[in-house]
Structures are given as structure tokens and as C-alpha cells.
Amino acid sequence: MRRLLLALAAIAFSLTLSAQEPTGGVKGTIVNRNGRQPIEKARLVLLKGAEQVAETESAEDGTFEIQGLPDGMYTLSIVAPDFLDNLVQVTVNDGYMKNMFNLSMTSVNRVTELDDDSFAAFDMDDSGYNDNPTILFGSNDVFNNIAGFNFSAVRFRARGYSSESQDVYLAGVKLNDAVTGYSPFSLWSGLNEAMRSKESVSGSEVSDYGFGGYNGLTNIFGNAASVRKGLRGSVMTNSQLYRLRVMGSYATGLMDNGWAFAANVSARLGGNDWIDGVYYRSFAYYLAADKVFNNVHKLSFAFFATPGERGAQNASTQEVYDLMGDNMYNSNWGYQNGRVRNARVRKTHEPVTFLKYDFTPSDVFEASATVLYRFGKNGYTALDWYDAQDPRPDYYRNLPSYFHDSNSDMNRNNPVKWAWANEVWSNASYYPELTHINWDRLYNVNRNQADGRAKYIQEERHVDQNDLNLAASFKWRAAEFVTVTGGLSGRINRTEYYKVVADLLGGEYFLDIDNFADRDFASQPWKVQNDLNYYLANGTARKLKKGDKYGYDYLAQVRSAGGWVNGKFVFGNLSANVGGRLGYEGFWRHGLMRKGLFPGYPSSQEMAKQWEAAGIEPSDESSSWASRKAEFLTYAGKLGLTYVIGGTQRVYANVGYFNDAPKFNQVFLSPRTRNTMVDDVEPVKTFSSDINWQYSGGGINVRATAYYTTIKDQSKVMSAYDDLQNAFSNFAITGIDQRNMGIELGFKMPTYFVENLSVQGVLALGSYEYTSNPVMTQTVDNSAEVVMQDVLVPYWRSTTLEDGTVQKHYIPSTPQTAVSLGLSYNRNYWFIDMDVEYFGRSYLDMNPLYRTDYATAGPDNNITAQEIAYMTSQEMFKPAWLVNASVGKSWFIKRKYQLGFSLNAKNLLNNTNVKTGGYEQTRLVDNTVSKERFYRFDPKYFYMSGFNYMLNVYFRF
């Protein structure tokens, strides 16, 4: 009976409504934000509260119209394949048809797969160099959108800046590595769906989430409600890095009850077409929940990690590449029992969790606070050996050049040996045991040891972080023309550096002693101990088993806190922002192992007696306990001006000054062995400025920028084996100045003569130069002796060639000229892109030793113009042309399911001769006939892969 009454009432009510025949409605055109092309078949759902009141899809020209709407406020949900979902508030008044004109959607095709997987993991660990390319984000920025995707293959760095200068935030927390400053993309690799939503600013602009530096800021939301609603699955195959990726995600979106849940899992597996030994066995998981209370309070929680492992690629000399006939040769792997095994494997499981609170009491004020914690394990394997032959196949003594060199001064002339070495490397497939790591031999050597003491092991170097972050920010629209943003942050980071025995390779144990010290101090057994305390307690070095810590164990303790505020003022077409940041950063080393070479002083009378009895000599430099603290006051200021012209053009300029602390890894001379710090380390001082013009209208998007930046008083520490010292050596360089200036141009516009066809391009033309000659201090791990103290590096900034020409030296490992020009076609959910790119003026990373008077003088202490030109010049890579193409299409099935694919084909010209980076070995050839000069060791390079593709097939509903 009740049901009947209800039904009758409903019928009556609907009749009443129909009698009123509402005349209101909403219409508009769905367009691509980039290029303004119409988007057809976008799905539009009109909601009133939680109730769906209408549904339609856009026509071929992108238009849509929903009629018969009563007056009121609605929410229009727009979903289109390959575009970020969009929600628009619509108010229908007085029965009119509301014209929304152009509703733009942001394409996700370009940025979908751009994370640290876009870059090969180059093994630079023992080189003393770093290689962390910048990942450009910014789906709203035409330059970043194109450059970010197209330039990743050559490890392009925006404006020549280092990757650590790019601020990366998650849920409002700055997540750049506390110890190195590197951007932490690997923490969420494979979680593309969960981390898709982000906001970016470029250059010195101030974000709502943080003050930022001079190289942009990206904030990834990472909460459940930011994940695209629905169930999604994709399968991807990729020929460059890993063979297969399987990914699935599910998100509820924000539900009526105020909850939102999201999950994302993925697996990346397999090798690739180009680099043997490089593989992925990586997984990823993400779980998140949001709860909204009264539209005022929101709590967000997320927990994610990307456990797994990936094999790394090593650099080799050109001699090796040429002999192998393969610029992709990777010396890190070899056969074990006939199966491929990589010695260098990154093994990580670093969960990140955060709890974020958002407070939105009114339309004019919002605030949020986040606590974020990162923990877990981050290991990297490598071979270690004691009193045994170097197991690296491309060790310089295994190469033909070691046996013959046309330069008679090198004193290498044995044709028989040269011929044999040449035969081996030229016919590598016949000699896999000589041209790759011979794992079987390593096992056999270990088995040969009567007492079971392993000579070769695989170690795992750990950098395990405990990183606790607190961040809060607010946004207050204080008046119609004033918006104030600001925030506070604090960080406690405790990173433990240590290594463990990962594999004894058939041995029974490995002894915890210092290899290099053992050679020099064999008659003083206490001095060769890595763990002196263990030795004193047990009378012998520790016999290590699998999983045991050894070698070194220390903490990098970092503390930082700060606050920032920014005011944005709008006066008609003119707006300005002024902001400042003030903070503190302090760090110190805390040694957890007392090393025999640097025991420090005994901490008690009892210990003093014990040391005396054992003949242990105290040292000023200590390997254990806490170092002195390095403390820095950091501050920065920014000023920005923007002028809007006619609704389509914007001219804006930014200037900033930054006084930033150096990082832990730039200050400690030899953190693996002792507490000693570089003297007189200065904060890094950066002045940055840019002026920009942006045009957006009529389907045309253009951004042109000119920038000028100076960075002063940088420091870095490099470590490498020094033949002249017969020891592992540390080179601390301070006072490195550079200047980065140039222009950026990005554009996308219709071709007009073919419908839906756009032309797009970017130009990055820069000049990134060193502008100072720094000073260098060289120490060795084996003693407290300072090999070179505050020695000027007079040829760092430039070289004078023999003809008197001065050759400047440049910031390495990024092209200073990068151009892309292409066509883009979008129609009926097809997209086809084709780009041609040019990269030029990329340089090899320099080593400071070669730029000293010591290296140029040679053994005869006589500096000649020829030696200067030879020893100090910087290599410029050959320019490169690349052609890339992409094609994609998606379909709606029964208006509910969506199936699509995208195929990206890169380097269609199959150019395998493009150097993307490398480094000079910090070694000198000193054994010459004339004894008049030194020679360089050959540099090592990385090359870009040849033709490669990525095919992604996805299914969503």
C-alpha cells in the first residue's frame, strides 16, 4: 500500500514538473587545452548534488548541449579518454541556456609514462659523478609538455640546472632527498595512476604548496580522491628498459558518504632490446583513503612503495664500444651457469606513508598540514674483492690499448698481446667469459681457498632512510586583490649508510678488513680493521656471513626547519607577488663503526689501557661517534610581476635570490672512513631571473622565456682510485661558480590548412658555463695525509689551446641546444604525433685533477702549452638528430567501457651514436718513456638506445 502511494505521489510530482517544462540548459565546446582542437565523444554527466540529471557526449566538433534544466546549481563531470577528468560548476538562471563556450581538457597522453623509468639507470656509483636528469612536468605549459616527453631520451636538464634544484613535493611535503637533494621519483615508479594528479610551476614561480627554488616545483597530490575514478587496467610493452608492465587501479572517487578509496598496483618485468643485463623485477602498490567531514575538514591517508630490483648499466670507454661494435655494451653482467647475472642491481623497498589534514572553513581561507614518513631499505649490489684480480671485464689492463699504443711515449708495444686482446674483444661472442663478468671463475677462486675465505663477494651498499617530515601551508584571500600563501616545514632525517655481504659466491666467509690498509699496514693488524672494537674484543677480524654488515656504517643526520610566505597582489591587469623564505639546515655524521685507520681517541681510561696494550695509536680524525655539526641559515626572496594583455597574452617576470645549504654528500671528505669535513664550506648563493611572454588564444599556445641565473660557491666531493697515490682518493672541490642563461620557446598552433592538424615545437637555447676556478683538496682513504691542500684548479673555467684560443668549459651532460619540431593530429580519439629533434652542445663531465698544475706539469714539473691543451680541454659531444612518432586511439564500448592504446616509437632513425653522458676517469698515465708528461685515461660514456617503442593497451571502466 505504502509503495503504491509513493508511486502515485511520484507520478503526480513528475507531472507537475513536466507541466512546468523548464527551458534552461547548458552548452559549450569541449576542447584540448593544448591547441584548442575539439574533443569529440567526451562523456558529460550533469549532477545535481549526488543525483545524475543528464548525460550526453560531445559531437564531432566538440559541442554539446543539455536542455530542459530547471534553475539551480549543477556539477558537470567531463570524462574523455586520454584527458584528465574535469569537474565544472554550472549555474542555470532564469531558464536561460548557459553557454560555457570552450571547456578545456588537459591531455594526459604526454605525461602518462614520464617518471624515472624514462631514464636508464646508469651506474655511476664508483665514478665520483652524478647523473640525475630533470623530469619536466607541467601539462599546462606548452614548453614543458613537449620538452618533458621528447627530450627525456638525451637526459635533457631544463635550463641546465641540476636535478636537485627541482623541488618535488608529495601531498605538500618537499621530498627531495635530504642527503643528496636528488628528486625522488623512484619512490613511486610504476604508480602512474596514483601519482598522475599534480600541479607544477616552472622557473622561480611560487606554488601554493611551497616556496620553491629557481627550477620549478611539482606537487603530486597522491591522495585517494585525486586518483581517476573507476577500474583501470593496462598492459604495456617497452623495448628500451623493461619488457612488460602490468598495472591496475581502482578508485571510488569521492563518494556521498565523504569517503574516497584508491588502490594501484603494478609489475614491471623483463629486459629490453638494447642493453643486456639491464632488467626490471619491480612491483608497486598503493593504498589510500580520504574522508571529508562537513566539506570543511578532510583527512587523507596513503601508503605506498615500489619494492623490487633493477639491473644497472655501466659506462665503458670508446675503445670497448668500438671493439664490441656496440655502444650499448654493458660490463656489469656475465654468465653464471650459463645464465645472465648482473653484478649491479638496485634493490629497494622504501614505503612512504602520509596523513594529510585539509581545513577549508570558508571560500577565502584554506590550510593543510601533512606528516609524511619514509623508511625501508635501499640497496645497490656490487662486486667486492680482497687480494684478487680485478673481475671487471673491461678493466683497462684487459684491453688492446694496454698492449699497444702508437704513441711511443706510452711505452706500449707488444703486437702479439695486442692481437690477442683485439681478437677477444672483436669476437666477443666466442669469448663471453672474457668480455663479460666470469661468475664461474669467481666461484672457483673462492672454492680454491682452503680455509673457505672468500676472495670475491657481492656486496650490497645500503642507503636506508628514516625521513620524517612535517609541512603545513595556507592560502588566504585576504582581499579581492590580495592572496597570501605561506607555510612551515620541518624535517628529521636519519640515513644509515652501510654495506652487507649479499652473496659469498661459494665462499664460506669474508673477512672484515680494509683491503687498501691491509696492503700498507700488514704488520699492524689493528690498523687494517674495519671494526676495531670487534677486533679488540675478539682478537681477530670478524668472519662475515651473508647479511652481515661490514666495511663502513655511519649515519647522515639531517635536520631542517623553515617557513615561507608569499603575497600575491592583483591590480586590474597587473599582478605582483613578493615572497620570502627563512630556514635552518644542519647535518652531521655519526660513525657507528670504529675503523683502525682512524680510531680517534679512547673514550675511557679502560679503553685507553686496552689501546695501549694493543699498540693502537689514537688519531685526530675519527671514524666513530659524532662529527661536528655543519649548520646553515638559509633564506630566499622572490619577486614576480605579471601583466595580462587582452585576455590572451601574459607577460611575466621573476627574480629570486637563494642562500641554500650545501648537501651532506658535498661536505664530508670521506664519509665512509671518517668524520672530516671540507673546510670553510659556504652556502650556495643563487640569483635567478626570467622574463616570459605567453599567448593562449584561437587554438594557439606560445610561451617564450629568457632567463639568467648565477650559482656561486658550490662544492662537491668526488672519490676515485688514484694510481699515483696507490689509494682510494677523495677530491673536495669548493668555490664552483656557474652561469646559466638562455631562451626557451614552446608553441603549438593549428596548421589551418588541414583540420585537426597542429604544428608544435620547442627551442631551448642556453649557455651554461663555469665562471670560476675552484680550489681542490685531495685526501686518501688510507691516511690522514693531505695530498693537495686548497690547490687552485686553474683550468676549470677554461682552457687555452695551443693557438692561444680560449675554450670555455660548460656544465656537462645536457644539450645546451635542443630543438623539436613536429606535427600533431587529433581526431575522433585518434592522435598521431611526429617530431624531429636536434640536440647539440652537450659536454662531458670534467674531472678536477686534469685541470690542476700538477697534472699539466707532468713528472718533469714543466707546464707546456701542449700539455695544457691536451690535459684540460673539455670534450663536446657530436650533435644528434632524432625522429619520434606516436599514435593512439581509444574507443568507448557500450558507453561504459573504454579501450585504448598508445604506441610511442622513438629514435626512428635508429641512431645509436648519441652520447648522453659520461665522465672522465680520475686517473693519470704516468709510466711514460719521456717522463715529461702525464696522459689521460680514456673517458667513459653512456649512449642513447637506438629505435625503441612503447606500446600501451588499457582498459577502463
Binding site: 623495448s239 629486459g271 651457469n337 684487459n398 672457483n444 696492503r519 718513456v929
Partner: protein, 387 residues
């Protein structure tokens, strides 16, 4: 569209699995590689497949092939012997000594840490064809043809290309270490008289009743980075002729070398120079010696020219060999020890140094410019027995 979906699926599967049988999936699914099988050790039967003619040449007969300047072996000659050397203590470097019942020989395998590859007593087969039999100051050596470099002083060069080692040197069965041969003065004299073909050279021997001669020999280079061959007497200092020069350790590690120079005047009378060219004592600088030193030579010292040689030696200090003289009867035997030996810093037993005791020494005997020379394989606590 169905066809397209099928085509896409097939393409995806094909692209992701087309190499699935290849090596790129090895590390993904290995989950801990299996340990390799035990190393293959060659038997004499195995060698036939490698061109072994069926009979071995004795080491004695091999040595008999030697001619001045070295001889390239062109016949299919194979020798076999048991390993008697170990570089575990750092006193032997890039050399493998093997011996059969007729003698021993130094096979110049130019790799370090050979003790990890070849165990004491292990049988080793060497295909000598295309190797070179040479001599270093009279001592037989088997290596590759000498380098054609302007500074080469050797008749052979190291076999340091692994592919060549693999072609010529084959590991055989493991066996117990070889017992040293006891040698008396008469046998020693006979070997010295025989010269190159003396049966004792390259063998593991024990000489009993040796008396310390209280005399050493060492040649140090003030700046080892500068030319220091015999044509460069300005960069050579001999610690020889008489006495021990304050050296009471088996050799000079870098630290001991510096310690003597810094804290004693034991070497102050040492002369810079060799042969007929004796410039000055090490207390003087190259500039002070310039009366005898050509200006062109002096220039090579650069800014160090004004520094006393003693300071130059400290600045460029390295480890150095030392030969201690012992005597059996009237025959001298030098015990030559590397500054990189793990026992280099060990002091000679005080009873030896003061002449109150004799000792038995076990090591590899070699000939050096007509004199007998010992190389200790084991630590002196094992290889030197003081009575």
C-alpha cells in the same frame, strides 16, 4: 573493431614475449642463480684434444733450448710441473713457479693473486709453443716475446692476456705441496757454475746453516716517477758495499723507508749515482750536485731541484726491495724481499743480526748475475728457522 582489438592483443603479446626465450628474462626469474659446477681440471688425456703431442719435455730439457737473447719456441713443446710458488704473502708478484723432478721454472703469468687460481702442489701443464724462453740476469723464465719498446731490458714479457693464458696454461689435478729439496754448499756451487741450466734455479729448496752476512743491498729511486734506469744515475741511490744501512727488516715498506729517512742519519752517506757517475750524498740537493750534473738533467727535477735528495725521497716514498746477504761456507746467498711483502716490516731475528745463530731458509732459489738468491714464499716465521 573486434579485429583491431585482437590485432592489438596479438601485437602486445608478441612484442612482450618475442624475446622471452632469450637471456633478458634470465635475471627476472632466476631468484638466486644456481652455483656453477666445479672447475674443470685437465688430465693428460684431456690435453690430447688441445694438441698435446703425447710426451712432455722436462724442464731441464726446456732450459737447454735457451740461447742468448731468448728463444721463441716454435715446436709443439709441453712441460708439466707442480706449483711451488704462492703470492699470498706478496713477496712473489705476477709469476708462477713450477717444478718437475728435473728442475723448476718461472712462468711469467702476469696476473696478481695467482695463489687464488693455482694451489701449492697443483699440477700445471704448459703448452710452450709460441712462448719465449728467456733470462733475467741469468735466471730462466718462460713468457711471451719481449715488448718492442725503447726502454725494454727483458728477453721475455708477461703472459698477461687472459686469452693467451687460457691457450697455454692448463690446470691439472690438485696434489699435496711439494717438499723442499735440501741443498748444501757443494750443490749450490755446482748450480752457480752451471749458470742458466743449473738444476736448482726455480726450485723450492732449503739451505741449512746459513749465517747472516750483516750486509744488505738495495737500490732506491729518489723520485720513482722520473726516469731511473741505468742511464739516469741522477735518480738512483745504492745502499750497498758494506753494512746494513740501518735496515733490520726484511724489506722497506713505505712507512719504514720514511721512518729511516726522517728519524735517522743512517743513509746520509749514501751516494746519488751509479757506476762511474757518483754525484753527491743524499743530504745535498740536485742543485748542489750540479757541478757534475748536466743542466738538462737538472731541469728534470723542476721545483724539486733545490730540495735535498733526502727530502725528495721522503716526498716520493714508495716500498722498496732489500737483499740481505747470508752465507753458507764461503758462498753468499742473498735473500731478496719485496717492500710489498706482508712480512716486509718484520725484523730479522736478533740472534741472526748479532751473528750468534745460524738459520735454515726455505724458498725458491734463483740466480741473479751469477749469485744465488732466495725468494721467501712463506712468512719468515715459517720459512726461516733460527738455531
Amino acid at each position: 573493431m573486434k579485429k583491431l582489438i585482437i590485432a592489438l592483443s596479438v601485437a602486445l603479446v608478441a612484442l612482450s614475449s618475442c624475446r622471452s626465450l632469450k637471456e633478458e628474462w634470465d635475471p627476472v626469474f632466476t631468484f638466486g642463480a644456481n652455483e656453477p659446477a666445479a672447475e674443470k681440471l685437465f688430465s693428460e688425456a684431456d690435453l690430447k684434444d688441445l694438441g698435446f703431442p703425447g710426451t712432455f719435455t722436462s724442464i731441464k730439457d726446456l732450459k737447454a733450448m735457451y740461447k742468448d737473447g731468448g728463444v721463441a719456441i716454435k715446436t709443439n713443446t709441453w712441460i708439466k710441473g707442480q706449483v711451488i710458488s704462492s703470492d699470498v704473502n706478496g713477496n712473489i708478484y705476477r709469476e708462477l713457479y713450477i717444478q718437475d723432478e728435473t728442475g723448476g721454472i718461472d712462468v711469467k703469468i702476469g696476473k696478481s693473486s695467482l695463489y687464488s687460481e693455482f694451489t701449492l702442489g697443483q699440477w700445471v701443464y704448459v703448452n710452450c709453443s709460441n712462448l719465449t724462453l728467456g733470462a733475467y740476469n741469468g735466471m730462466p723464465q718462460l713468457g711471451l716475446e719481449a715488448d718492442s719498446t725503447s726502454t725494454n731490458e727483458y728477453e721475455t714479457s708477461y703472459i698477461d692476456v687472459q686469452a693467451i693464458i687460457n691457450e697455454h696454461v692448463f690446470k691439472g689435478a690438485k696434489a699435496d705441496p711439494v717438499a723442499p729439496v735440501a741443498v748444501d754448499e757443494a750443490q749450490l756451487k755446482a748450480a752457480i757454475s752451471a749458470g742458466y741450466t743449473g738444476e736448482l734455479w726455480g726450485k723450492l729448496v732449503t739451505i741449512k746453516g746459513l749465517l747472516y752476512g750483516k750486509k744488505i743491498f738495495a737500490l732506491v729511486y729518489p723520485n720513482p716517477n722520473m726516469p731511473h734506469k741505468s742511464g739516469n744515475p741522477e735518480n738512483r741511490v745504492f745502499l750497498s758495499d758494506s753494512g746494513t744501512w740501518g735496515i733490520d727488516t726484511w724489506a722497506l715498506t713505505k712507512n719504514t723507508y720514511i721512518d729511516i729517512l726522517l728519524n735517522t742519519n743512517a743513509w746520509d752517506s749514501a751516494q746519488v749515482g751509479s757506476g762511474n757517475k757518483r754525484y753527491c750524498t743524499i743530504t745535498k740537493s740536485p742543485n748542489d750536485c750540479k757541478g757534475d750534473m748536466p743542466e738538462s738533467v737538472l731541469k728534470t727535477f723542476g721545483s724539486d731541484a733545490g730540495m735535498p735528495y733526502k727530502q725528495i725521497m721522503i716526498k716520493y716514498a714508495t716500498a722498496n726491495y732489500v737483499s740481505h746477504y747470508f752465507r753458507i761456507g764461503k758462498t753468499d746467498v742473498q735473500v731478496r724481499t719485496s717492500g710489498y711483502a706482508r712480512f716486509a716490516d718484520q725484523k730479522l731475528d736478533s740472534r741472526l743480526r748479532d751473528g750468534s745463530s745460524t738459520c735454515d731458509i726455505t724458498g725458491i732459489l734463483s740466480i741473479y748475475n751469477g749469485a744465488a738468491q732466495f725468494t721467501l714464499v712463506d712468512d719468515p716465521s715459517v720459512s726461516v728457522t733460527v738455531h
